[in-house]
Amino acid sequence: MESVGNNDANRDELIIQQQREIEKEISDSTPLVSGQLPLTCLREEYNGDEIFTEKIRELSKKYKFIRRTRPDGNCFFRAFAYSYLEYLITNNTAYQEFKILAEASKDKLVQLGFPSFTLEDFHETFMDVIKRVNPTNSEENEKVKNELHTVFNEQGYSDYVVVYLRLITSGKLQEDADFYQNFIEGDFSIEEFRHQEVEPMYKESDHIHIIALCTALGVGVRVEYLDRGEGDQVKAHDFPEGSEPKVYLIYRPGHYDILYPN
């Protein structure tokens, strides 16, 4: 154990300062969750790149709109929560069921050994957000969707939701540790993985995070993978396999955004 290049303390400081500046630039320039944008806006990012342009053209046959999330390492959790709650606004039965499941999730996490003390805060705010997007009647849907958008762009609420989903994910990994251990590369134990790659903020999500969260909440997610891989089609993957997707996301290396199917 040692500090990295301890004779370079100034360099450490410069690196950290630079990281902060980059983070600040990102947070100043991109909202936590953007408005709905036409999917074709992606083209600008890959200007002139044939593979991507073709894939975006194919993808736009299935999806008209995209909603961007801030690339801060929490994008999967934020995108998932936003997209699922947006779906629930239009489906009162599913909303009521989810509310019950969410209410009960705290006791389950406490049973799994999470400290109820810190959990309470996050659970309370999580329930708060769910209650604020209660679909009263279909005429009010637009109003409730605006409320959802406002809440998710308030860091205080938005980040609490992310934390809580991270804890649910971590809880699922622990509950079914024997199963999830198979997905973990290297010498990590499930315990280490949960504490180092799931529970801390800003740590990016991998398949294992997605599978655990979707399974814990019983929500199907389809992820469209836009990358430089072979063929002119974007590959889609459903989590858990064979489920009916309620949440649609687009993955580009290192980042998730929300998609809207036609």
Binding site: M1, E2, S3, V4, N6, N7, A9, D12, E13, I15, I16, F114, P115, F117, T118, L119, D121, F122, G156, D159, V163, R166, L167, H195, Q196, E199, P200, M201
Partner: protein, 154 residues
């Protein structure tokens, strides 16, 4: 209470719990906290049957207004800094949950328990190998060091 920021509310809640049900060997210096909620001094006793039995240490926790989303800054202070392979003689501690593995679900109590367990599992009292150089050149704030955690077993 309502005029408190979320971070102050959380700290207040943690403080009450730590005073009411402190982990073994851990006591908050309430005097210090009442003066300033963003800086806590916490006394920690070396556990029986370990290399630090009979020793008393003091930790300083500093919180900013992004707590619990950002980790507290934690250092040993006072005249007795434990001689340990993860603790520099200026009080800085190399512990991953204090920087990159911090999670908002952790707490002051969890940090104290981690530090106590780090001390308890020590088999040989010695300073980190790069102690002299680090202490001479580091920033006052240990969170400004890019730590390289490569041995959790010590």
């Amino acid at each position: 209470m309502s005029s408190m920021s979320p971070s102050e509310r959380r700290l207040q809640k943690e403080l009450m719990s730590l005073i009411k049900e402190p982990p073994q060997g851990v006591t908050v210096d309430t005097e210090s906290v009442h003066q300033n909620l963003s800086e806590w001094k916490i006394n920690i006793k070396g556990s029986e049957g370990t290399l630090y039995e009979g020793e008393d240490f003091q930790l300083l926790f500093k919180f900013n207004n992004k707590y619990p989303f950002e980790s507290p800054e934690v250092t040993f202070i006072g005249t007795n800094i434990p001689v340990h392979p993860h603790v520099y003689s200026n009080g800085h501690i190399c512990l991953s949950i204090l920087t990159e593995d911090w999670s908002p679900a952790l707490s002051v109590q969890a940090v104290c328990l981690s530090i106590a367990s780090m001390l308890s599992s020590c088999r040989e009292k010695k300073r980190p190998p790069d102690n002299t150089l680090y202490v001479k050149t580091c920033n006052k704030n240990p969170k400004k060091t890019k730590w390289w955690y490569h041995d959790d077993s010590v």
